[in-house]
Symmetry: C3
Subunit: 322 residues, 3 copies
């Protein structure tokens, strides 16, 4: 029995179960684009602090989607890097958050997590090289499985679904932004990446990000801060800002562009800044556009903006892709 | 004058009208992915039994879209295989079903069927090789031409549009699933592929499928059955299950994956089974998501799931494309 | 200091400011696919006649998006041809039209125009060669920035948003189409390309188009006329037809297919005619489909139909792309 570690986790093992666990943990880490099983472990700890049932769901999702990838015989290197696990992790957390624990709920969660693996491979084929699918499979599979409940008597939505949707009427009177709005908005924003609304959870997630990459950690914090400031500047409701709703997508956009996909310099930092600002605006847009069908925006703003700015980058002489 | 037949229909003829009729019939057969003019003929018989006016619409649609393809000078082999006819067939049936027979209605139907041919060629270009458009042109063109009626005083929707949309409130009290729900749900599910709700029509369609391919016929029946069982297990309303609403998309997904695109073995059968289950769930999702604009789901669940599972297949070492 | 003109504008200059102004004017001209700075100048004059504040917005949009393209180091030839300016021009006009002049409004407009440049480059990458993005970036960025206002207390929509949305009930009683409906509908249709509803503006735009290309001018007028006739024939409300709502998208489709992308002959003219008719129908569809989220159709019907018919063209032996 051989086991080898490096600073990103297990590099080799003769024990299949260990390799599998490492792949699943990297899947949790890949939610923020970190191929690092220690990051994934810290994220699980953070989720557990915020909500033990979310942590159970995360485990079920990461294990199911990673197992599905092994069963389908998908590219071993990609599976081991967690690239087939992060969408399933998020799908399971979201379904467990938005649906009541009816008897068939966990079967439904497992089906959705397995589907996310297929959707990830299908979308990769459709997008082609150099166009990562990001969390798009999570978003699509979650919308599909949550909205379907509308027609099924054996499953029920919790009251959590429309929380993010403060009406415009409320916008102009509710709340004054203070220093605590900003600090909570940043930390809860990082926590909301996994649908948690706890500052300690956000701090642990930030630690996990810093373990994965110092630049990623700083980018997440600054991205979340910019999201809070955009929400504030444009007059978004204070409770939504405090809850991190205007910062979780910007944090992801900042990590993706500034620390993962672009070579960081002044120009790419400014380019990422514009992307982060647009992400915060797009959160409002997607939330408002989805109101008629009652679905949450999830990380769709992050995905759409990162796609636009990433696909545009090769056309620029002044930006370099990693 | 020479005419030659084989078991899929006419293979060669010196009479242009016969070749054209054969292409149009194959178009009807291609609705279920069967390149077989006898299958198309049986489908027309089945539609006639269910609804003579739908049969007229099917003829108009198949002839218009196939003629458009000839006039545009599209690839002769594809036109002869019916690949430019099946979307127009469905478009015409759907418009004749959802719209009142106002004076301009048939002109509108012919325009829509001709447009479906262009949309089929355009989508093929956009998707590229090895990514079939399936019935996506039918779905898009039908939505476009049906919803447009909302703004036009010379055209009117029939009362058929919102039938599939049973509200959740009704879900939990309406109906108990019995053996007759299952048998009707399977046969009407196959009939609903052409928007018919008649068990005899479904049986004739099944015969047409078996003429095209025994595996396709069995796949359609099993796919429809799984759709019924998923609807039942998740508590969908009994009348919707009995009407075949939960089975027509799953039947198509099963035919497409298990009998047309994947080499059938235990693994691809299980993979197709997951796809069929997801298709049944997605029917609920699409129906609920479209409620604000009052459009029916049509075969969108089949198209989306088949795309996802088909595009994912090349990434798997354990699945082989035909 | 050297300056050279040809009939499409400045061809070379040693003065950067002049080159930049020429690129921005071509951007205004490219709204109707004309790479001609005199056309752009006439368009600005026409907009000024219709609405001085729209003219200011057009200038801000053209300058911002062109400057963003220079700053990003995008392909110089494309920037000089105005291909990164036309979406920003339209975005700025639309936002200034749909939003109240709140203090942060112009900052918002500038951000949106800059974003449109990134979106243009990103979409070009996604679509690949021979698939122009047309005004899709304008449409997407405008929808995103307008609907977002729903959640922001510092920005407000004007009452202009739902004007195009006459309910069906009104359809059947409102108005009788007369010769003045047709003539106004054609000229205002051309004016509505830039969201103006003034016949003199439309006439100046038509002059600008004729300066760019005689075929383009004729195509725009005929396309607008067909749009008016389709709206009339299908019973659309007379005020909407008179306002040019059924003609601005068809005018653009006619210019794009008949004068820019296809070699003009009898076949391509008939093909373009079908596309123009479908565009008028699709205006109704998109307007109705967007009603739940209160967004206007903008030029989405033009983009979708032109994509379908343009992407289908290479499959036809009887149509030649330029």
């Amino acid at each position: 029995m051989t086991i080898r570690f490096d600073r990103t986790g297990l590099t080799e093992s003769s024990v299949p179960a260990l390799e599998f666990a490492d792949a699943a943990l990297r899947g949790v880490g890949q939610v923020t684009l970190q191929n690092n099983s220690f990051t994934g472990l810290l994220f699980l700890v953070g989720i557990y602090v915020g909500s033990p049932s979310s942590c159970l769901a995360a485990l079920v999702g990461a294990l199911t989607s990673t197992a599905t990838a092994y069963l389908l015989g998908l590219d071993r290197a990609l599976v081991r890097a967690g690239l087939y696990g992060f969408n399933g992790t998020l799908v399971a957390i979201a379904l467990a958050f938005f649906l009541r624990p009816d008897p068939v709920m966990w079967l439904y969660v497992v089906s959705a997590a397995a589907t996310s693996t297929v959707a990830t491979a299908g979308l990769a084929n459709l997008l082609g090289r150099n166009r990562p699918g990001l969390t798009a499979p999570f978003i699509l599979v979650t919308w599909v499985f949550v909205i379907a409940v509308d027609r099924f008597g054996a499953l029920h939505a919790t009251g959590m679904l429309p929380t993010a949707e403060l009406p415009k009427g409320a916008t102009e009177v509710v709340g004054i932004v203070s220093a605590s709005t900003v600090s909570e908005g940043v930390l809860k924003g990082i926590a909301e990446i996994f649908l948690q609304d706890d500052t300690v959870t956000g701090a642990i997630f930030l630690a996990g990000l810093l373990v994965g990459s110092r630049v990623a950690g700083v980018a997440a914090a600054l991205g979340a801060l910019v999201g809070v400031l955009v929400g504030w500047g444009l007059g978004a409701p204070e409770p939504a800002i405090r809850l991190g709703l205007f910062s979780f997508n910007p944090a992801l956009t900042a990590v993706a562009l500034a620390s993962v996909f672009l070579v960081l310099d002044v120009r790419s930092a400014l380019y990422s800044l514009l992307a982060v600002v647009v992400t915060a605006v797009l959160f409002s847009s997607v939330s408002a556009a989805l109101r008629p069908i009652g679905m949450p925006a999830l990380t769709a703003p992050f995905v759409l903006v990162t796609w636009a700015f990433l696909f545009a980058a090769p056309a620029s002489r002044r930006l370099s892709l990693r």
